[in-house]
Amino acid sequence: MKRRKEGRGEVFSRRALIMGAGQLALTGVLVGRLQYLQLSQADKYATLAEDNRVNYEPLAVSRGRIVDRFGVELASNDQNFMVSVVPEQVEDIDRVLSHLQSILGFSDQYSAETRKLLTKAPKFLPFTIADNVSWEAFAKVNLNVPFLPGVQAVVGEKRSYELAEQAAHVVGYVGSSRNREGRAQSSYFKGRAGLELAFEDNLKGEAGNRRVEVNALGRIVRELERRDGNRGDDLSLSIDAEIQKTATQVLGDHSGSIVVMDAQSGDLYALASTPSFDPNQLSSGIDEKSWNELLQDDHKPLMNKALAGLYAPGSTFKMIVALAALEAGVVPRDHDLECTGVYHFGGQDFHCWEKDGHGVVGFDTAIARSCDVFFYDLALKTGIDAISAMARRFGLGRKTGIEVPGEKAGVMPDRDWKRANYAVGWQPGETVITGIGQGYILTTPIQLAAMTAALANGLHLPSPRTVMGSESEGSQELGLDPEHIALVQSGMINVVNDRRGTAVRSSINIGGMKMAGKTGTVQVRRISKEEREEGIVKNEDLPWALRDHALFVGYAPLDNPRFVVATVVEHGGGGSSVAAPLSARVMKTALARKSVIEAQQALKAEQG
């Protein structure tokens, strides 16, 4: 054993002290850092920790139903059979997918797509493989669930429209708004058109939500707070499913619209527009091809023609001209005129539809036989501004304010309007053709229905409405001389019931209840002088888009009118040959329902 040199211990002591000091300094850094994290920044990190931990989750509620005036379902919620998988529970995804493919029969491409999406989806949340599965397929999947770990057969909700195409435009349709994963378990519906859109807030109800604590993977650990929602309110319509169905059926393959309205209250019993579409298909996700077909169809199936179809009213406008003339006092009530088939004015010939003329006609007969010459003359005597003012009192050229979205205003021209929109001022010749409802004037079927209701009740212009008990804008008093109204009404009665009336072939008699009305045939092309001399080409020989529009407005019964019908058949031909018979068929159905409807109204009034 040698003696150790003294230097070693001293060096060690010195250096150990240096090292200890360094360690203390480094520990000081740690304490400083702790002070920064836990004291200076504590609030920030506390917030971050809370954000980490808590998530909000919506809880779906059932959408309110839409029912007709008798509670018949127009839109309801059906069971939606869905097949989904929870990725983390699946042992062999390829086996599961091919098994499901053999039952559900989806394409290889869809299978590959699904497989790809599945790899990105959260592992613990159900991922929808297929929805709207048939009951048979659903039952088969259910049977196989024990052998396919991770597969779930679940029942969700889907929107179902019982009348399908027949009430598509008024009821509308929904779209399912899926959440960001693309194919989440439950779908939430959102109104996209019609009343589904207009009453979205009432129908959707109040979605509940729950505050949940989640772990780092987003898996729910526990529920902290739960607020159950309220299911959507049911929407009760004034529509009568039976009348609505008839209206759609009688239109058949025509492109057009039939509106049936209460002559007093403005409640709509039917709002039909054809051709239509299947809202069930649109709500469950329509393929692009079918959607493009709907968009490109020249009969415009997606358009609600009752509200958005703009048509010249044609001869259905003659009552307005008559009332304007009578109120202005330009002619007496017994005013008459001889129709020779042509009216000369300003170097132009204005023809009557009756080539050989009607002979001597008064207000009553001119309306009943729809004499054009009488109204050419009457319009000129009255002047466009008075006619226009009267038309506006009947709601023409302005939106009625109906709840169904998409309504158009139309046009009711006068001098001011012409000056504002054209370089040239109003021409007297334009007053002449306005006398028979042609020219710039454009109206919608719903406006014509409201106008007819006002003519029928003689007192007020009702605001059309589709929803029971909804606040309507309030009807407007007409303030017209009852004798003037009676004169016009007698003309309308004779249209259908006089043997020389234009719609006599469409007269009806349901237990003594008869219909009054007015036909209209609207030219959509100009007829040249040469053609007039050679003989006018018949509608059947023209291409569809050049044929005349056929119109009819009517009301029934004659005393205490209940129902109003307004029919427009686009390029349908004549008002008396096409529109009037269709209207008569609808009116028959409506009159058959009259006692039921009135009994219900009485009951409501008693309760209300």
Partner: protein, 373 residues
């Protein structure tokens, strides 16, 4: 192995004669581990807390047993232990099992162990033994530098190849700390520093873009908030949200909801800090500092250079693990998978530190014994 028997050695003596201040501080820190593991498991003693208690008891037994070994025997076995561990590292290289992407474990049938952990003891033992035989004036001679550098670098390179960069760096730092304590001229440390600093730009430019990115993320985890940085960000949220007093034992949301990885091992401090706050964290840091000071006093009383270097070497290694772990979870250092001594769950780490503490107790108990050269 022969027990030290110069004094009358009753069982009582053997147990009570050791430095209970050191054991007491060790147990206090160990209890922090038990508490946190109990909390992390959802306030349950299973699966970690009760095993940790068991291991602490075994560790204390092991320490006392080692404390009663003859210092001379330990001294004489130093190179053998070092050699055996180096051989084990080679064996890992050849037969080791792959775990978490790195080859670290050696399966001996009954026990699986990580020779790289134990090598910390091996290096300290071998270096202390080497310097015991060298005069202060000879330490900085080139001849006496080569051997210690080989003692350090051979195992460090083997560990680096596993690959475990973190442990390899720690081995090198521990080794060179002993060189520093032994009195190696500061010139060499400066030279090494300049060499490292000047070679860095050359190495950096030769790296591929993705390698540079990986290193940048290694040093600044928030560059990659969804990948490597995620754990650090979540850990900082955990510590920071603890505030002054903490959320209470068992109420740490970051850990309970699995926002943290390795929460019962490497990230255990985060949980402790989240649940006990700034106050609790300071207490834990204070316990470590107290233990290091206790070791400093032990070293000061020692007669042999071997003993001093042994205690100081183990002290440095304890401090390094403590510092690197805390710096890591607080976002001050790269994520290097270093456990917090006595607190993190894990057998090998605790076993290694217990052996080191046992050896410290051993030299402390035989402070007046000389071991020769």
């Amino acid at each position: 192995m022969s027990f030290y028997s110069a004094r009358a050695s009753t069982w009582q003596d053997r147990i009570l004669g050791v430095n209970w201040t050191v054991i007491g501080l060790f147990l206090a820190i160990g209890c922090v581990g038990v508490l946190t593991q109990y909390s992390v498991a959802g306030e349950s003693f299973g699966p970690w807390a009760w095993r940790h208690i068991l291991r602490l008891i075994v560790a204390v037994g092991l320490m006392i047993a080692i404390a009663n070994l003859s210092l001379r025997t330990v001294y004489r076995s130093s190179y053998i232990i070092y050699g055996a561990l180096a051989a084990a590292l080679v064996a890992v290289e050849l037969f080791g099992s792959i775990n978490m992407g790195a080859q670290r474990w050696l399966d001996l049938g009954v026990v699986k162990f990580q020779p790289s952990e134990l090598m910390r003891i091996g290096i300290v033992l071998a270096l202390a033994r080497y310097y015991q035989g060298i005069e202060a004036s000879d330490v900085s001679r080139l001849r006496h530098i080569i051997v210690p550098v080989i003692i350090i670098c051979v195992p460090a390179l083997l560990v680096f190849r596993q690959p475990d960069l973190g442990t390899a760096i720690l081995l090198v730092v521990i080794g060179f700390s002993i060189l520093f304590l032994a009195g190696l001229s500061l010139r060499y440390f400066m030279l090494a520093g300049i060499g490292l600093a000047s070679s860095f730009p050359i190495v950096w430019t030769r790296l591929q873009n993705y390698q540079q990115n990986r290193i940048l993320t290694f040093f600044d985890p928030e560059r990659d908030p969804l990948g490597a940085g995620y754990h650090i960000i979540q850990s900082k949220i955990g510590i920071g949200s603890g505030g002054l007093m903490g959320k209470g034992i068992g109420d740490g949301t970051q850990s309970r909801l699995n926002f943290l990885p390795e929460k019962h091992t490497d990230f255990i401090f985060t949980i402790f800090a989240e649940e006990t706050g700034f106050v609790g964290s300071l207490i834990l840091i204070g316990l470590f500092i107290a233990l290091l000071i206790a070791l400093f006093f032990v070293a000061r009383e020692l007669k042999t250079h071997f003993g001093r270097l042994l205690v100081a070497g183990f002290g440095v290694s304890l401090f390094l693990y403590f510092f690197v772990n805390l710096a890591m979870v607080m976002g001050l250092a790269p994520v290097v998978g270093v456990p917090l001594p006595f607190v993190s769950y894990g057998g090998t780490s605790l076993l290694t530190f217990s052996i080191a503490m046992g050896l410290i107790l051993c030299v402390d108990r035989q402070a007046s014994i000389d071991v020769g050269r």
